[in-house]
């Protein structure tokens, strides 16, 4: 194995064991073994095309949407193999936030937050729905901004607000893990810093796995970092250690901006 260090993680919520993913026999993720600690922010870093998104999407099995995909190895959520449970059930435990805000354009702000219940046909009482919407919007610090326009279309919000709405939509199910793929790359610096503050708060209740190619973002908000290169996990450890004292020369090169 090429991993220079494996962080000792107690109480992992996710453990990947020799996970490999190939598109048409081209491996995009190679033998990744990693344990992700509960209530932390874990950043996945690496140059573009190194397999960050593929790895992240393998965690809620969104990668299976592509054709000719093969998945080898194991991924456990609280000790249960996620490839042996129904994908639909798994995804309700693993919220996902995408690169570009993608609220449902036909739905109001309220309906966007509750979309997971509505689209799945899960019946809830009105009072319960109201509570879920308010709690989720408060969690993403959007409640005060939108509480008077809950029934307006979500697409009228600014980009940063839309992205927070999408986070709220993921939180409405009270998932255990939130997977985020470069969630701030389409946002301006102010909107970005709001979301970064948010993530630090959210980790009290959730575990966050964050793909980012913004190193300073990883340094600011993550507790653990993975550095990937050409599909391999090169280094994994406490963010602080990795940034001050990287072990693998490739990590050091990346962090000092020599490539990527």
């Amino acid at each position: 194995m090429t991993i220079s260090t494996i962080a000792e993680v107690k109480n992992p919520i996710l453990s990947l064991k020799d996970l490999s993913i190939a598109y048409d026999k081209n491996y995009a993720v190679k033998n990744v073994s990693v344990e992700i600690k509960k209530n932390t922010v874990t950043a996945i870093m690496g140059p573009s095309g190194c397999g960050k998104s593929t790895l992240l999407r393998a965690l809620n099995r969104m990668h299976e949407l592509y054709e000719n995909i093969t998945t080898e190895g194991e991924a456990l959520l609280n000790g249960q193999n996620i490839y042996e449970m129904p994908a639909i059930k798994l995804r309700r435990h693993m919220g996902m936030v995408f690169q570009r805000p993608n609220p449902f354009p036909t739905m109001s702000i309220y309906d966007n937050v509750i979309a997971g219940y509505k689209l799945n046909g899960i019946r809830t009482k009105k009072q319960e729905r109201d509570e879920i919407v308010e709690r989720s919007l408060r969690d993403v610090a959007l409640w005060e901004e939108v509480k008077d326009s809950l029934f307006k279309k979500g697409t009228f919000l600014s980009g940063g607000q839309q992205q927070r709405l999408c986070i709220a939509r993921a939180l409405a199910f009270s998932p255990e893990v939130i997977l985020m793929d470069e969630p701030t790359s389409a946002l301006d610096p102010i909107a970005t810093s709001k979301i970064e503050d948010l993530l630090v708060k959210l980790k009290e209740h959730y575990t966050i796995v964050l793909v980012t190619h913004n190193m300073s973002q990883a340094a600011r908000i993550s507790d653990y970092s993975l550095f990937m290169y050409l599909g391999e996990l090169v280094e994994y450890g406490k963010t602080k250690n990795m940034f001050t004292n990287p072990i693998d020369p490739r990590t050091e090169e990346y962090l000092t901006g020599k490539f990527g």
């Binding site: 809620n60 639909i88 919220g95």
Partner: protein, 295 residues
């Protein structure tokens, strides 16, 4: 030297200006040529047809040729109207839509979901070919299937079947194109919430593309509203309002054809055409409006 240079460049720019003017003139002439037929048609229809338009025109059946002859001889307006045609057209268009919309939308979804698969490509090609089949042939087919074997005679049902086959490929195509325009990210957003695939289609993609689907449907309806040839072989016509799908039924374009063949009824041709044209124009404008709103 300098002045020659200046002169030259001036010359050059005035030449270009002349060219620009020529192109602009050409464009204006060509667009006038393009829009003049429609303006002439509408002008003619209104000028010739407005006199016969009245409440009676909408709620009364066609007069018989003798009534019309007497009125024309006395220099009066032709009595009666085309209610039998209006009702027949609505009846057949509604049934044709009820047949074509569900089948067309489902087929469109199938094509969208199976891009590149052999069966999908085959279906798409067949649908495209169907779009090119002359409408009279669709009338013949429906005559063989429905008139000969199901209703045992000319019928509104046979008319609807021929119209629905005509509408089908348009709906298939517009459904597929509409779904293709919806960003992948919305599908992903729904799937990531654990929504099963069929519900993603029904509850996210269809509502998101709804105005696009509606545009295709309205254009399809406006296409079949004026169809005459297939109805001649299927619905045949009727001088009174008929609501029985298994009986011969009238339609506005059928009436226009009948009026054309009866010298006493000539006066009703223009008003009937005006009404038909107005219905089609309105449908087109509404669908344009919907399409614009989508952008």
């Amino acid at each position: 030297m300098e002045s020659i240079h200046a002169l030259k460049s001036q010359d050059h720019s005035s030449g270009r200006l002349r060219k620009d003017k020529l192109v602009l003139g050409g464009v204006i002439v060509l667009s006038l040529v393009t829009i003049s037929p429609i303006i002439l048609i509408i002008w003619k229809l209104v000028a010739e047809g407005y006199r016969q338009i009245s409440l009676d025109f909408l709620i009364k059946n066609t007069p018989d040729t003798f009534e019309a002859m007497t009125a024309v001889a006395n220099g009066e307006l032709i009595p009666g109207g085309i209610a039998n045609g209006i009702v027949g057209t609505l009846l057949m268009v509604v049934l044709a839509s009820a047949l074509a919309i569900p089948i067309g939308v489902l087929t469109g979804i199938y094509l969208y979901e199976n891009q590149g698969s052999f069966m999908a490509n085959l279906t798409r090609n067949i649908s495209d070919i169907l779009q090119g089949v002359p409408s009279i042939v669709l009338g013949l087919i429906s005559y063989l299937w429905v008139v000969k074997h199901i209703t045992m005679g000319f019928s509104a049902l046979a008319g609807s079947v021929s119209l629905s086959i005509m509408m089908l490929p348009m709906i298939v195509r517009s459904t597929e194109e509409t779904l293709k325009m919806i960003p992948e990210s919305l599908k992903e957003a729904a799937l990531a919430l654990g929504v099963p695939y069929h519900k993603v289609i029904l509850r996210v993609l269809i509502p998101t593309g709804f105005s696009g689907l509606l545009t295709g449907i309205l254009l399809g309806i406006s296409r079949i509203l004026g169809e005459t040839a297939p109805l001649m072989l299927t619905a045949l016509g009727s001088s009174t309002i008929n609501l029985d799908m298994t009986k011969p039924t009238s339609a506005i374009p059928l009436l226009i054809w009948e009026f054309y063949n009866d010298p006493n009824m000539i006066g009703l041709i223009w008003s009937s055409s005006l009404l038909l044209m107005a219905m089609i124009l309105i449908l087109n404008l509404v669908s344009k409006q919907l399409a614009a709103k989508r952008r």
